[in-house]
């Protein structure tokens, strides 16, 4: 036993230094005021209409991005499973390729593309169409989220779907099922663990992002991530920032528990 525990030491140090102490610090800041007195004010500040609105908008955009990612990823995963080996490898490569570039650079590239005098409007005008207001809109933010987080939806879903035995799919067809019945009654229930992972991995970063909304929302659209960031950087109010962070953490844990309920197999569990 003791030697096994010794093996865990590096991990324990990592967990304590990287997770437990920071969370403890956030909890401490979040539950005290500037004079180190206990208060729930920072946590309850989520009830403030500006904060509530930002949270609501964040949830909405994160949901939309997650749904779009799912709608792109799921059919693709099925297509990839059924394509031949070389083609499949190439498709996975194509989807991982953007991940090799820095996340900030990729988002910045969209900024350049979507700008008022950017590449896309330039192209539209060149063929005689009016320029569009794309940057600094909610759509631009959703676009950024989908672009940045799509691989995190594709990979876990593909991972699960690729392991479904071909003969199970053939058996369903053999018993008379149509393609849509095969998808709803065989593929979907069997890929729940992958869907849950994918949804977690897209929804949570979308919910908390402030970089994408900063760069593609032009600072005019405030998501809950932006508000927390500003409390730390602009207003130097660490207590309020931490309080709101605690609420977000709670929110994420609750939504993950909710999601895990779908995943009866208990595999790929995040909690």
């Amino acid at each position: 036993m003791t030697s096994k525990k010794a093996l865990a030491t590096p991990f324990m140090i990592w967990i304590v230094a990287g997770t437990i102490i920071p969370i403890g610090a956030i909890a401490y800041y979040g539950l005290t005021d500037r004079n180190d007195r206990f208060t729930l004010e920072n946590v309850l500040a989520i009830g403030n209409s500006v904060h509530l609105q930002a949270l609501w908008l964040s949830v909405l955009l994160a949901l939309i991005s997650t749904v779009i990612c799912f709608l792109i990823a799921y059919p693709l995963a099925i297509i990839m499973k059924n394509s031949n080996f070389g083609k499949r490898g190439f498709m996975i490569f194509l989807f991982i390729l953007p991940m090799w570039m820095n996340f900030l650079l990729r988002t910045m590239a969209w900024q350049v593309l979507l700008e008022k005098n950017g590449v896309i409007n330039g192209m539209l005008e060149a063929i005689g169409l009016p320029g569009q207001e794309i940057i600094n809109t909610l759509s631009a933010i959703v676009l950024g989220m989908v672009y940045d987080f799509l691989p995190f939806m594709i990979l876990p879903i593909y991972n699960v779907i690729s392991k479904i035995d071909d003969s199970i799919i053939e058996a369903a067809y053999d018993l008379g099922a149509s393609t849509s019945e095969v998808i709803t009654q065989i593929y979907l229930p069997l890929s729940v663990p992958g869907i849950v992972s994918g949804v977690n991995m897209v929804f949570i970063p979308s919910l908390t992002t402030f970089v994408i909304s900063n760069m593609l929302g032009g600072g005019k659209i405030n998501l809950i991530g932006n508000i927390i960031e500003q409390e730390f950087t602009v207003s130097s109010n660490w207590n309020l920032g931490s309080g709101l962070s605690l609420v977000m953490m709670l929110f994420i844990v609750v939504s993950m528990i909710f999601l895990e309920r779908f995943d009866k197999t208990g595999e790929d569990s995040f909690i």
Binding site: E170, A171, Y173, L175, G176, A177, S178
Partner: protein, 358 residues
């Protein structure tokens, strides 16, 4: 018997590999037909083309005289029992069996009755609510059968369904399958590489190698009168020896003349001769035609199996007999005329004997 399925000139390539070449086959109603061959011979491909999971590059498939070549798998009136059972892991036993019936919009009452009936038929009454991963291999096998037969297909396709079971269970399931076939009164098309399975269960065995039919016939015909060296070697153990047909009913093997019962091969023609190991008679030295020395001996249950090296030409005879001879003992061998099976020498490499056993 009425014709049920007709495969006409089926050709199938996987990349550059030709798996089936101009393959034609007729299956009659209520037949237990077995496609037998070594792995990679194309037998599973035939089944998959019949099931609708592969499309033939050329050729046509007829089902009750209707062309079903381009009909997708979910529209064909036949069901498959897959090699690895392919049960739906997220459903319990009942939901698995009911899957096809639900898809076809049958009433709940009908489904309940059918599931009951099918579970009874495969001797798994009371298993409705078990989850699939709580079943043994043999039980999964039975559920896979039940799931296929509740849909009342005209034909059941079985792709090496006993391959994953242990010997004892496999033998039990063979009898089970024969019983099921009789009770259901439908056509079984069975794919296997196990010659024993093929001989025990089938009405008709089709021996396939390299995408060609090597021989088609009842189990007895296939075993007793193999048409070429491949069939002789693949079905059971056999001694395949080069010989010369001196004239009708007389063949020369190992330099000795043996009377036989085959005719029409011509005079002084080179042939292949098949003699089953149980048909070789071992006698005291001098009492038989071929002199040999016992090389090895193993007891395999009912009888001893020996390799006896012929003194004339070094050929090692595989022999099965009830008497015990010592290693090194000098004996003589003999064969009665009706146990000598004469075959033409192979004309193409496809019929070349392959060394599978011994």
């Amino acid at each position: 018997m009425k014709e049920l399925i007709k495969l006409e000139h089926i050709t199938k390539n996987f990349g550059n590999l030709r798996v089936l070449d101009d393959f034609s086959l007729t299956v009659h109603e209520n037949e237990f037909i077995t496609l037998l061959g070594p792995s990679g011979c194309g037998k599973t491909t035939i089944l998959r083309i019949l099931g609708g999971f592969e499309t033939a590059d050329e050729g046509k498939i007829f089902f009750e005289e209707k062309d079903i070549t381009d009909l997708p798998a979910n529209k064909r009136n036949l069901n498959t029992v897959f090699q690895k059972y392919a049960l739906f892991p997220h459903m319990n036993v009942k939901a698995n069996i009911a899957f096809g019936l639900k898809i076809n919009g049958k009433s709940q009452k009908y489904i309940d009755d059918k599931v009951d009936y099918a579970l009874n038929l495969v001797n798994l009454k009371g298993f409705e609510n078990r989850s699939i991963d709580k079943l043994s291999g043999g039980q999964q096998q039975r559920i896979a059968m039940a799931r296929a037969i509740v849909n009342e297909p005209k034909v059941l396709l079985l792709d090496e369904p006993l391959g994953a079971l242990d010997l004892k269970l496999r033998q039990e399931m063979q009898y089970e399958l024969i019983r099921l076939k009789k009770e259901l009164g439908i056509t079984f098309i069975y794919v296997t590489h196990d010659q024993e399975e093929a001989l025990t269960m089938s009405d008709k065995v089709i021996v396939i190698n390299d995408g060609y039919i090597q021989q088609m016939g009842t189990p007895e015909e296939i075993y007793n009168e193999p048409e070429n060296a491949f069939v002789a070697d693949f079905i059971g153990d056999s001694n395949i020896i080069g010989g010369t047909m001196i004239k009708d009913r007389l063949v020369k093997i190992n330099g000795h003349e043996f009377p036989c019962i085959d005719e029409g091969f011509g005079n002084n023609k080179l042939v292949d001769v098949v003699i089953r190991p149980e048909d070789v008679i071992v006698r005291e030295r001098g009492a038989g035609k071929i002199n040999g020395t016992v090389l090895t001996r193993v007891f395999i249950g009912v009888h001893y199996e020996m390799l006896i090296k012929s003194e004339e030409n070094e050929y090692e005879w595989l022999v099965q007999c009830y008497e015990k001879y010592d290693i090194g003992e000098k004996v003589s061998l003999d064969v009665i005329p009706s146990n000598i099976q004469i075959m033409n020498k192979p004309t193409s490499s496809d019929e070349e004997a392959i060394d599978l056993d011994i």
